[in-house]
Symmetry: C2
Subunit: 97 residues, 2 copies
DNA sequence: TGCTATAGTTTGTGCTACAAACTATCTGAC
DNA sequence: GTCAGATAGTTTGTAGCACAAACTATAGCA
């Protein structure tokens, strides 16, 4: 019975990971808008995802304004796959199994 | 974008709901063993599920020992279905959508 | 030289999952 | 009978987390 990864299971982070899994990278403002998150909330989620190595944070400047962009890592992609497997396992969970 | 129900999303309660969805009823001791939960933890999860009307708690006596058994309600079954729909929605989440 | 906007980060708080401690009853052993 | 576990739960205390409000810092314009 493989446990679900709590870092990924949290609904906001799950959405973030799913979005990032489909793009090369996405920046802070885009993610905040796409997922309707406050900046503080998004910021802390991204820091958590980076801390466990599921995403990579790149800080640059666009013109003179700071621009933070995020990309999923190979490890993040692997864990996301494992997460869905664990969910599928729960989904099949019945007493008879 | 229908949000996931946090009561069901919590992994332990999700397993409980999945188990109960496949049986007429299950008692406290069985659930604690089947899901490897401490009694305190199981007790509080079951109370939460009852509070929102997803399960029904029936207290009887088996011989002279108290016996608490749990069954999913129609509402619980409905919400569990809605939950999986919401999860599937997230699973399909990509930027292009 | 203000004033508003943009792009984030830090801080404070209310809630939650969990296990330890507790309650209450039963069942032998002596 | 009574003492010592075992059984079946519930209540309580705590550590950790998600969230938004407050804050920092710079840009760009009137």
């Amino acid at each position: 019975m493989s446990e679900v990864d709590p870092v990924i299971h949290q609904p906001t982070r799950l959405r973030i990971m799913m979005l990032l899994s489909g793009v090369r990278s996405a920046d802070f403002t885009f993610l905040a808008g796409a997922l309707a998150l406050t900046k503080g909330n998004l910021s802390s989620h991204m820091n958590q995802l980076e801390k466990v190595g599921y995403i990579e944070i790149t800080k640059t400047f666009k013109g003179k304004m700071p621009n933070t962009s995020y990309a999923i890592t190979a490890e993040g992609r692997r864990q996301l796959g494992a997460y869905w497997q664990a969910i599928d396992e729960i989904r099949r969970l019945t007493v008879s199994d």
